[in-house]
Symmetry: C2
Subunit: 138 residues, 2 copies
Amino acid sequence: MENFLRLLRSKGFKLTPQRRAIIAALLSCAPFPTAQDIHRHIRQTAPDVSLDTVYRNLALLIRLGTVNQVNLPGGSAFEIVAGHHHHHLICLACGRAECIDYCPVITADLAQAEDRGFTVVSHSLEFYGYCRDCRPAG
Amino acid sequence: MENFLRLLRSKGFKLTPQRRAIIAALLSCAPFPTAQDIHRHIRQTAPDVSLDTVYRNLALLIRLGTVNQVNLPGGSAFEIVAGHHHHHLICLACGRAECIDYCPVITADLAQAEDRGFTVVSHSLEFYGYCRDCRPAG
DNA sequence: ATTCCTGCAAACCATTTGCAATCAT
DNA sequence: ATGATTGCAAATGGTTTGCAGGAAT
């Protein structure tokens, strides 16, 4: 939390209660909250935060590089950029995501891309399947 | 094309001109057309195909397993399920996608997931960067 | 005092749906 | 004849934007 506030201050952004609430929610919420999840979570303690403010602040944090946006069917989810690189397990039944440390991608292997003049700067890798709770019986 | 028609017929679906046009577009269009791309492409030769029909038929083809849906920021793109497994290079500037044959994922390595009771059935891997045309000067 | 932020409401865009008419079988 | 399929138009749901008032610096 302190890191976020420091970063915002250093760039000249103001520390409003709404902004604090949104960051707090990101830190305490489910692993991959949507904007609406965050809004719902905040409502309990700070009903005076509108949904568009949530969107605006998420956009700001993304611009500052401290939050990642994950494209899911039907909308986007967000996560704090963790210290370490990781990927996600996404349940096809309930839609929940979990982090997984496995990452087999070796940038040096991407000669094919370079050969075609494509410069790779990042990648996203999601695993789809069924979580413990949704695992089909049998 | 014949494969598609055979599949549809065998499942009791009707072969309408709209349906043929949509499949033809999928086969001839850019690599990862959105629903709107397909609609625009079709308009030239068959103006009598509405956008919702494009959506409905894409949904049908996805249900039949012959078309993949790729989630991109701002919407979905579609591709015919090719014979071989592959991934995509996505340009952060122009949004275009290209196929790449590289895939480092080894399902056997996903012990972490299995340990947590998560059954992996598939994965998606996208590389982000800049294509030849958009490569930042310098 | 200045500049940034916010809430509201309306706009937007992709996608979905209800319905009556139409078409492939 | 029958049931699937279509076009239309309206609804939906996530996200963005314009604007005027309000808050942090």
